[in-house]
């Protein structure tokens, strides 16, 4: 049986943002998604560090787009989630749901 792989918090949030953004997933929209939906102002350097880790683990693939003038002639790095990445998200969600359930002190309260 393969060892289940769980994601760290930052990896999970970045991976979820990439899934949500679909074709437009690159650094800037990911950082905005984290700010708007998770209220996290994460530095782009930290996001790229997480993206590199996720790509090394095989949860993401990346491709470089064309250079654009508004970026000083630099290309965008587009990200896409792999099937292994989706599996890791589902495994992590199941683990978190199991941990959250059955705690009376947290029943009925939402942040």
């Amino acid at each position: 049986m393969a060892k289940p792989i769980y994601l760290a918090e930052m990896e999970m949030m970045v991976l979820l943002a990439v899934v949500r953004l679909g074709e437009d997933a690159y650094g800037v929209p990911i950082s905005k998604e984290l700010l708007n939906l998770a209220d996290r102002d994460v530095a782009l350097g930290s996001i790229y560090a997480a993206l590199d880790r996720l790509e090394r683990k095989g949860f993401l693939t990346s491709t470089l787009g064309d250079p654009t003038p508004e970026r000083g002639g630099r290309a965008k790095r587009y990200l896409r989630v792999t099937p292994a990445g989706l599996r890791a998200l589902k495994t992590t969600r199941t683990a978190l749901i199991n941990l959250w359930s059955g705690i009376p002190q947290l029943e009925g309260s939402r942040a």
């Binding site: 650094g27 782009l44 003038p69 508004e70 000083g72 630099r74």
Partner: protein, 211 residues
Amino acid sequence: MSDGKPYPPRLAIWLLNRVCAGGSEALAGDLVERFREGQTRVWFWRQVLIVLAIGALGKMRRYWPYLSYAAAGSAIPALLWRTVEGVPAALHWWALPWPLSQIAFEGSRSALLALAAVPVLAVGLRISLAFRWVSLFRTAAINLTLLALGHYLLGYLDTVPWLIRPVPGNPHLMRILAMPPPVVEFLFFSLFLVSAWAGCRSARHTRARAR
């Protein structure tokens, strides 16, 4: 840039390109894009400093055996200087025939310093699965060469009076470098780090090729 749009600090961009050579284009582009959307120069510098810090931490994690070796190597002169100083006398250098007497007197301290921290490097390389005997031998040889070179260069300090001063209470050590102890520690640390870096070079390349 001649497109009329604000351009981020050039020094920050240069630093970014230097540190993240090969992988910085997209990140630099994202930072420029956010900057042109209205972020400040302070924001830009903060982002670049975070990238530099993350890069430095990554390198420390990757090369921790070298850093451990350098830390151990620079701690030995500070903690065990009396022992190191006593090595030529313990070898009875004056009773040895020339040139052994001179080698024992001039080189034994450098040799002890070069070899004493090698076990730390060996353990670090073993843990990080990069152990090779040749790396250890080469590191020790480079270290010994650099230490011996430094020892001989110190002999020429008499020609630069503002760098030397008498050692109070020690008739044998008449002069030392007029440098504060942290600077001396830093020099020793750098010397050990460079030795490990150069000595373990081929092992590093072999691993990179294997990946």
